[in-house]
């Protein structure tokens, strides 16, 4: 009872408590259910058992019972079965409306399987009645309550009903079959001929349900689905809903088919396009959406769909506007140029009374906008921001951040915008999203750093969220000392030490100490400020002050000890400390050396999935962000191994390559790490065999095809438990800074020990075994990583002109320029600049600007001019500038080989 809806939703019945009663009286609202109570209604239900029932009265009682259920009341098992038994008596009565209510309540109180038998004969009788509505309703009830066994008994009747000429009967049985198909597919499959006939039904909803059922029965058989689709595409599907389903099936078939080569059109694309001209909006939208969601969709294919959606944008119906703007928003992620035609309509949507539509419109504009339109857009958004709820603001902030990363030259206006909104009122989530955005911009755009730091300083002056203050103070401590004028930040930070609560004071103190450590000329002044905190009334703050004073003045390692280089993973430390505190004997001091330095393989962090609008807008962005965190994780792993940490920082971590087939006994994934003078192969091995322990696991890398490399170190994995995972490493040396290529043959070697299933112990003696893995290959792109160049022209001019190398290449037939741009971008693995990775629709030529860093920290810039002729042959002119001519040559070599 505690969980009924009455508690929260205050229904129209008097509960036991007085206050509620008074409320009701104040409202003076008339309701036929006023004062309704379960006990009383159950009593009333006895009228069902009377010899001469009054149909009107019975209808009312049933309605009351349903009302109770609707309000969240639940019946106990015995109450439900009492009601059920008395309701079954009503089958004797001829009143149609009463019968309809009886059907409804039986579906609500689903009888238990041993009770079902009581009504099946009554329902079977109704199923053979002359009244179609009796038949359809009886079928719906039956389909809801029967089990597989009973289905077999009445299958004959149901099958016959599929082809009934009455729409309501056929619809009922088809709908029932769709529900039953999950558990009884075999039975329903025998109705195929009848369902096939129903597909040709004149009635739209019957056709819809028949198509849905037919597909459901064939869903696991790709060939059968594609046959069904071919058949339906040819025949004339009249029902819009059925047509909708067909569009979905076609989209599936397209997704599973191989992408067309050259300018061969996709199968069924013409069908989708023809659906754009359908008379029903449901179908038009479904088709437009399907086209927009196609994998590797080209601009040419998109155009008709975008045109249709553009019409929807100015519809009077909010639902259509929303549907269109949401879809276009998604398109804008991958094909911003395709959506630019809609910009005028989008701009008028900023004033849409539906805030979801307005927010989607704005974020779409931000994605499609070019540099020149940014300032105007920001002005429009400024007024808009104060009117919308926080959840929408977060979405806009995300979009602004993405825009700023795309057009780094525009950081000034965009950062200003962010700092303005940061000053306005808002909840924690909103403020956090802004701060996160600024933090990321500071990291990615060096020019924006000082400006961003200054804004954050302002913000913490008046920030009510500890979490954000602490985060910002930490950042100031890290970045502040590296700026031109570190002294200017001290005042802001020290203000926090005076004015804030203990948590923020402690964080501010840590931040100050780092200034002291890294800026020798500020050290004396910082020391004075830290000394003042010695008399703080909080323990933590005092402790930190004492520690920092010691570290800054007298520590043997010098002031640098303020921020030690942690080699210990925080997780491991936490675990070790917890274990230490659980011991009874804490006399022994805690030994840092006892913390394992190898990070325990942490389960992939489940990132909070964006929901609602944020999800609609963010889809696609997260994919770009993911690899970064992965790289970080790998860097942590390498740092944790002392022999590898000694090799120096990792230049680039390549995407993992699987070296075994799926579902083999041993799964090995190889990750290549490129370092200044080394190449580290990290093999992540998983033992999927239950009864085996693998020991001394290593990978032998054959260097026959890679002469420039020499093996330096092999770190085997001592033990790999049953169904466990681990890493083994192979370190290869190569001349520092060189871009040596090669192909490696890998063999996994290990000792197998069987586990006795009875005892769970591994046998003593194992046997040596080996396992052939796929080859790995080091390609030139491994040595190049994307880097951000905010001002391409300036950077280009800054590089020596004599390093420039130019050559022409023909790259054959392509679907479109966009295709070619993407292909070349993939090969080089560099960062595109100034949004040049998007080709305007129907362009005949295009220039792509790429920027990257080659191993040895050599900057390289690429300017690619593409041209396409009438036969769709693409030619390109590749110009490379870099700090060394060798690197320029290497880039050309990559293209020549590809």
């Amino acid at each position: 009872m505690a969980a009924t809806a009455q508690n929260t939703l205050e229904p129209l019945r008097a509960g036991g408590d007085k206050a509620k009663d008074e409320d009701m009286e104040e409202e003076l609202e008339y309701s036929p259910f006023y004062g309704i109570e379960k006990g009383a209604v159950l009593q009333e239900a006895r009228v069902f058992n009377e010899p001469h029932v009054d149909p009107r009265k019975c209808q009312q009682v049933i309605t009351k019972l349903l009302y109770l259920l609707t309000q969240g009341e639940s019946f106990t098992k015995s109450e439900a079965s009492d009601v059920f038994f008395s309701v079954t008596k009503l089958f004797q009565h001829k009143d149609v409306h009463l019968r309809r209510m009886v059907y409804l309540i039986i579906k609500e109180i689903i009888p238990s399987s041993d009770e079902v038998i009581i009504i099946t004969s009554s329902l079977m009788k109704d199923m053979n009645s002359t009244n179609d509505l009796y038949r359809s309703n009886a079928i719906r009830v039956l389909c809801r309550i029967i089990d597989s066994q009973m289905l077999l008994q009445i299958e004959r009747y149901l099958k016959q009903a599929v082809v009934d000429k009455s729409a309501v009967v056929a619809g009922a049985v088809l709908a029932g079959a769709i529900h039953l198909a999950g558990a009884n597919a075999e039975v329903i499959k025998r109705w195929s001929n009848e369902v096939q006939e129903a597909i040709n039904s004149r009635h739209p909803m019957v056709q819809f349900q028949a198509v849905a059922l037919m597909h459901g029965l064939r869903a696991n058989d790709r060939l059968a689905v594609s046959k069904l689709v071919t058949q339906l595409v040819r025949s004339n599907v009249r029902s819009p809903m059925a047509q909708c389903l067909l569009v979905r099936y076609v989209a599936q078939v397209i997704a599973e088919s191989q992408p067309g080569v050259g300018n061969e059109t996709r199968p069924f694309y013409d069908f989708l396009e023809s659906c754009l001209r359908h008379k029903s909006e449901v179908v038009i939208f479904e088709a437009a959406r399907a086209i927009c969601n196609m994998r590797d969709v080209t601009t040419r294919e998109l155009t008709p769909a975008v045109t249709v959606l553009q019409l929807f944008l100015s519809s009077s119906k909010p639902v259509l506007r929303f549907a269109a703007v949401r879809t276009l928003n998604k398109v804008a992620m991958s094909h911003p140029m395709a959506v630019t035609n809609c910009n005028i309509d989008m701009e008028s949507l900023i004033a849409d009374p539906n805030r979801s539509i307005a927010t989607l419109a704005i974020t779409t504009l931000l994605k499609t906008g070019n540099e020149s339109s940014i300032d105007r857009l920001l002005k429009q958004i400024g007024g808009f921001m104060s009117e919308i709820a926080d959840e929408f603001k977060v979405v806009v902030v995300e979009a602004i951040k993405a825009l700023c990363l795309k057009f780094p030259q525009k950081y000034r206006g965009l950062m200003n915008f962010l700092s303005n909104v940061l000053r306005e009122d808002g909840g924690f989530e909103y403020k956090k999203s802004i701060v996160d955005a600024i933090l990321q911009l500071i990291r990615e755009i060096p020019e924006a750093k000082e400006m961003g730091l200054a804004q954050l300083c302002e913000f913490i002056e008046d920030c009510e969220f500890n979490f954000l203050s602490v985060q910002i103070l930490h950042l100031l401590g890290e970045e502040g000392p590296k700026t031109k004028d570190p002294a200017r930040y001290i005042r802001y930070i020290y203000n926090r030490v005076i004015l804030e609560n203990a948590t923020v004071r402690a964080a501010a103190l840590s931040s100050l100490a780092r200034f002291g450590a890294h800026c020798p000329d500020l050290r004396d002044r910082v020391l004075q400020l830290v000394r003042r905190a010695l008399y703080d009334n909080d323990d933590e703050v005092r402790d930190r002050a004492t520690l920092y004073l010691y570290q800054l003045q007298r520590a043997p390692q010098g002031p640098e000890s303020v921020d030690p280089q942690w080699r210990i993973p925080a997780k491991g430390l936490e675990a070790a400390l917890t274990a230490y505190l659980e011991q009874t004997d804490t006399e022994q001091p805690f030994d840092l050396a006892s913390v394992p330095e190898v990070a325990a393989p942490s389960p992939a962090k489940a990132k909070a999935k964006p929901q609602g609008l944020a999800a609609a807008v963010a889809a696609g962005m997260s994919a770009a962000a993911a690899p970064v965190t992965q790289t970080d994780e790998y860097a942590e792993m390498l740092k944790a191994v002392p022999q590898l940490a000694a090799l120096g920082p990792v230049f680039k971590t390549c995407a993992p390559v699987q070296l075994t087939e799926e579902e083999t006994e041993y799964k090995v994934v190889c990750v290549r790490h490129v370092l200044e003078g080394h190449l580290v192969f990290q093999f992540n091995c998983t033992n999927t065999v239950k009864e085996q322990v693998l020991e001394d696991v290593s990978v032998t890398v054959d260097l026959a095809d890679a002469e420039e490399f020499s093996e330096e170190l092999v770190l085997p994995l001592e033990v790999m438990p049953q169904e466990g995972a681990g890493q083994t490493y192979v370190v290869l040396a190569r001349p520092p800074g060189s871009m040596a290529l090669g192909r490696f043959v890998n063999i996994l070697r290990f000792r197998v020990k069987e586990i006795d299933p009875a005892t769970g112990e591994a046998e003593e003696e194992g046997y040596e075994d080996e396992y052939q893995l796929e080859d790995t290959e080091v390609v030139a792109a491994d040595y190049i990583k994307p880097s951000f160049t905010p001002n391409f022209r300036a950077a280009w001019d800054a590089l020596p002109e004599e390093s420039e190398m130019v050559d022409d290449y023909g790259i054959g037939q392509r679907d479109s320029l966009q295709d070619a741009v993407e292909a070349v971008g993939r090969i080089l693995g560099m960062q595109s600049c100034e949004g040049t990775d998007a080709v305007p629709p129907n362009a005949r030529s295009h220039t792509l600007l790429l920027s990257g860093t080659v191993v040895g920290d050599v900057q390289v810039l690429v300017r690619l001019a593409f041209g396409i002729d009438a036969q769709r042959n693409v030619a390109m002119k590749l110009a490379v500038r870099s700090e060394s001519a060798e690197v320029s040559e290497a880039i050309h070599a990559i293209i020549q080989e590809a």
Partner: protein, 190 residues
Amino acid sequence: MTEIVDPTIPVVKNLLLLDSEGKRIAVKYFTPDMTSVAAQANYEKSVYAKTARTNARGEAEIIMFDDVVVVYKFLGDLMFYVTGDQDENEVVLYSVLQAFYESINLLLRNAVEKKTVLENLDLVLLAMDEIVDGGLILETDPATVATRVTMRQDGDGSPMSAEAASNPGLVTLSQAFGSIKEQVARSLLK
């Protein structure tokens, strides 16, 4: 509650009819993700909070939050909601919403307000039952829904009249049907 297995079939997660204060009049949930009364009450509360101040009197409105899309329309002192998955075709949900409020409007002869809805709750519940069956869309034509609720067979209308005369309890239903024809004709002329 049986689940619809084929993911290509459009699924309605729930139909809600709330009053102007967000209280339940009639609701029906179809998917297994919101079966507890507490979860349902929470959901209705947040839907109401997010939509109550918008204007959905003229055209039906739409909102997206958490992982659902909701289309809704306010009529008199009542609010009609249809919820679907966030990837559902919005226009499909809209057609269900239209069937929902239009059929009730037909059945109640344009008198869609809390009082009449409560007095004729049986008609409302039956209409919801005729539109969606366990999440599957059964019928979206308001007039067809209304005739089925009143147990008139599609196409003929005679067998019930004798019974109606002998049974005063049926009068409201027969009247309702009479007005449906009228209104359908009128709406076509518009």
